[in-house]
């Protein structure tokens, strides 16, 4: 009897498992190359020649909510022609994939972003085409980007995150494919606002701009993200405020791609001293502010070399705090001690 009960329980679990498997396998887009046959297992990994553990697991649920949902595996991993396959090279983001860009009807690629990057402060070469010193420190696509998820917005009645079912009702009048409707909605609304929150942007930049070795090699004046984090903007970003400015809001000219960033010494740069006033006074930040607002030192640190005046000003308050509290805490300690021995007294010998 006990055996039958146990067998029944196992059968039930098995049936539930099958139902779930069927549900998930039908809910998402088809894996044409059948890559998930192997890559669906969370443990699929190996240690590479450098001794690093490489994880090859693909979470289908997450991938289907990412901006690359429509791109087939072999669209990026172009070397793979058969299963099982040999070790492959890292993905080249400039590969032309099978997606057709609708305005030109050409195959899509991230080449434009790469072209912008090659003319920016983050380029590996200088204006003459020569390789920059420490060019290996300069970012490539994957230094900043992974496979981003959609961040859909709803603004049907109120602005909030997520898909507006009310809006989708309009789409369904003309479009019949649910998969297309959701993807199109996600794509458009994600691109209408920032695809990452300010904290996430700062974290990406901090990989290099807070790295002491990179700062020293490139003679940068500040730990940029650390000093940003000490401002109200940075602190609010750490509490996941979406409206405060992040690195890109100040360091990229309005209307240009984030890949077109220039050095603050370059007159084209938004942070060049001749353009800096426009950053703060734009309509979305501090409209009507004086150009003097932009002389606020966003990247000031408690550092004698970088910001001596701020350093001494902070030091004054540290001394004031210590000078006030330490004697008072000493009195509290002595008072507690004295109350334990209320009648004790050191008497002078006569």
């Amino acid at each position: 009897m006990k055996f039958l009960t146990r067998a029944g329980t196992i059968t039930c679990y098995f049936l539930i498992l099958i139902i779930f498997t069927i549900h998930f396998s039908t809910a998402y887009a088809a894996d044409i190359g059948n890559c998930l046959l192997c890559h669906k297992y969370p443990g699929i990994s190996r240690v590479d020649q450098d001794g690093k553990l490489r994880l090859f697991y693909v979470n289908e649920g997450i991938f289907n909510n990412s901006v690359h949902v429509k791109v087939k595996c072999e669209g990026c991993h172009t070397e793979i022609k058969e299963i099982p396959h040999q070790p492959v090279k890292k993905v080249d983001c400039l590969t032309q994939c099978h997606i057709i860009e609708p305005s030109t009807e050409k195959k899509f690629s991230h080449k434009n972003a790469s072209d912008f990057l090659s003319k920016s402060v983050h380029s590996k070469t200088d204006n003459t085409g020569k390789s920059k010193k420490f060019a290996e420190d300069m970012p490539t696509c994957k230094s900043c980007h992974d496979n981003p998820l959609y961040r859909p917005l709803s603004f049907f009645k109120t602005v909030r995150y997520g898909v507006s079912e009310a809006s989708l009702g309009r789409c369904r009048v003309c479009h019949s494919s649910e998969e297309f409707i959701y993807r199109f909605y996600n794509h458009i609304t994600t691109r209408l606002h920032k695809s990452r929150n300010p904290l996430n942007i700062a974290q990406v930049c901090s990989r290099c701009h807070d790295d002491a070795q990179v700062i020293a090699r490139h003679k940068l004046s500040t730990r940029a993200v650390y000093s940003y984090g000490e401002t109200y903007h940075g602190k609010a970003a750490s509490f996941l405020d979406e409206q405060v400015p992040d690195c890109l809001d100040c360091h990229v000219n309005r209307g240009e791609s984030v890949h077109q960033m220039h050095s603050h010494e370059d007159p084209q740069s938004s942070t060049h001293e001749s353009n800096r006033a426009n950053i703060c006074s734009n309509m979305e930040c501090h409209p009507g502010s004086s150009p003097k607002l932009a002389s606020y030192k966003v990247h000031a640190e408690f550092n004698l070399d970088q910001s001596p005046v701020q350093y001494y000003f902070t030091l004054f308050f540290i001394i004031l705090t210590g000078g006030t509290l330490l004697p008072l805490m000493g009195i509290i300690f002595l008072d507690c001690l004295r109350r334990l021995f209320p009648d004790a007294v050191i008497r002078r010998r006569k």
Binding site: F239, K297, L320, L325, R338
Partner: protein, 276 residues
Amino acid sequence: MEQHSIIKIQDGKKYFYRFTMNQRIQHIILALAVVTLVLTGMPLKFYDTSWAPYIYSLFGGIKAAPIVHKIAGSILLVLFLYHVAYLCYLIYMYQIVPLRKKRRLTAGNILKIFAGLPLIPNLKDAKDIRDLMKYLFFLTNKRPDGARFTWKEKFDYWAPFWGMVIIGLSGLVMWNKEIATHILPGEIINFSLIAHSDEALLAALFLFIWHWYNVHFSMSVFPMGTAFITGYLPEELMIEEHYDYYVECMKQSGLEHEILLPHGVHAESSHEEGKA
């Protein structure tokens, strides 16, 4: 001004009148505003600590907490202005007007009025600090004979007074940065942020350690002093902290025969008796 007898006797115990209703209401508003400001400000100063998001979320997180902070700051600013006006009114009505009636209103006399105000530090405070040190280092058994307001209370008064000027002005600059930077350079925001947050930390630590120890956590007061609510201080605390003023009050009320000796004198005299 409301009139109260200096000494109230309840269940055979004496209580000494310390604070008017007006002052107690001012103090409670001040205390609530300061606690709110600390709870909505410190998570921002220590944004990278584990506790900061939890405290901040109690006030609605980054969307609401800065608004709560500004409301509490505005209340404190109005209270500060009211307090200064209240002080001016008291000095004018009870010091300047009588002097004018006596036709003795001279610059020297006005200066004397200010020097003699109960919360102005004086030589007696320096002497009390010296005597306290003697007591704390076991050189004597006798605590200093405190006046109506001791040096500790004057410190408790003037530290937040200075703090409110610094924190209030820097807070106003940061709140109205667009207007402020029409007049002042942008670096004023750097300095305002440093002054606002560092002075606030000093004020918070000062109040929550020093002030709360003296009025709530000290062994003779623990668990809570009630004078800030009732306005009255019990006799044993008056003897301990304000002995000079205690004797003065007792004499004024015709209770000279009931004046108790200060603690140390008891011990020293009994010690002497024992030796004899």
